[in-house]
Amino acid sequence: MLTYALLLSAALFVIGTLGVIVRKNAIIIFLCIELQLNAVNLAFVALSRYTGIEGQLYVFFVMTVAAAEAAVGLAIIISIFRHYETVSVDKFNLLKW
């Protein structure tokens, strides 16, 4: 089952990458990043059966960081929305070369 879990993890990670590149809505880009984090979590959990309990601890830490990242990221999105009245990443390009 390990191989299939890792394949599923790879599939979810690739789907998340695709979403980050092709979508313009900042919130959906965030969701796709969460999807990538979850793909990595799945790989950690699957491998923890073969390497020890530390894999599950890493998942715990990744979830904490994901929660912090979601809170700060969504606050930034709210702040940007106040300024530009949109969440399309094409519209805020001040930091783009």
Binding site: V14, I27, S48, R49, E54, R82
Partner: protein
């Protein structure tokens, strides 16, 4: 039985993931994401990670997704049905990146790394199962968390505090000039 459940959860997870990327409204994407997270929790149970499955549902599918939903509703984005896909060169770039990523991941998977894992796998799994019976599903995580990993655990607490303060400061409406 385990394999059937795994295939079921895997299909729901991948379907939900595709739904997240193709969903036309942010709320639809979010609900697909919840389906993905719930089926991942089911897969965690299949891998005997019961505590992680519980916090996956409570923290991820519960708290974080509700936070996303609050922001979507606060910004009133639910009615925005315009397709917001990037086309042209971005789409080509995404195909290239996705192909390369998939290639690297699958090649790493099919490589030699796994045979070494398989050799020692059975006794590691047996040791984890014995620890779960002895300490319980939470104790088996909590024991290393509060001994070997206590510094990382405390840093996580600090990180959450910083994130809360940052989120409040960032989301607060800016005070007008000279009002302070």
């Amino acid at each position: 039985m385990t394999d059937v459940l795994f295939i079921l959860f895997a299909v729901v997870a991948v379907g939900g993931g595709i739904g997240v990327v193709t969903g036309r409204s942010p709320v639809a994407s979010l609900l697909f994401m919840v389906a993905t997270l719930a089926s991942l929790a089911g897969i965690y149970v299949l891998f005997e990670a019961h505590f992680l499955a519980a916090i996956q549902v409570l923290v991820y599918a519960g708290a974080i997704m509700v936070l996303f939903l609050f922001v979507i509703m606060l910004l009133n984005l639910g009615h925005d049905y315009r397709a917001d896909l990037k086309y042209g060169s971005w789409f080509l770039l995404s195909l290239v990146v996705v192909g390369l990523t998939a290639g690297v991941l699958v090649q790493g998977l099919m490589g030699t790394g796994e045979t070494g894992l398989r050799a020692g796998g059975a006794e590691v799994a047996a040791a984890i199962d014995a620890a779960v019976v002895e300490k319980g599903a939470v104790g088996v995580i909590a024991d290393p968390l509060f001994t070997d990993w206590v510094v990382a655990f405390e840093l996580m607490g600090l990180l959450l505090l910083v994130a809360i303060v940052a989120a409040v400061v960032l989301a607060k409406p800016r005070a007008r000039q000279g009002e302070k």
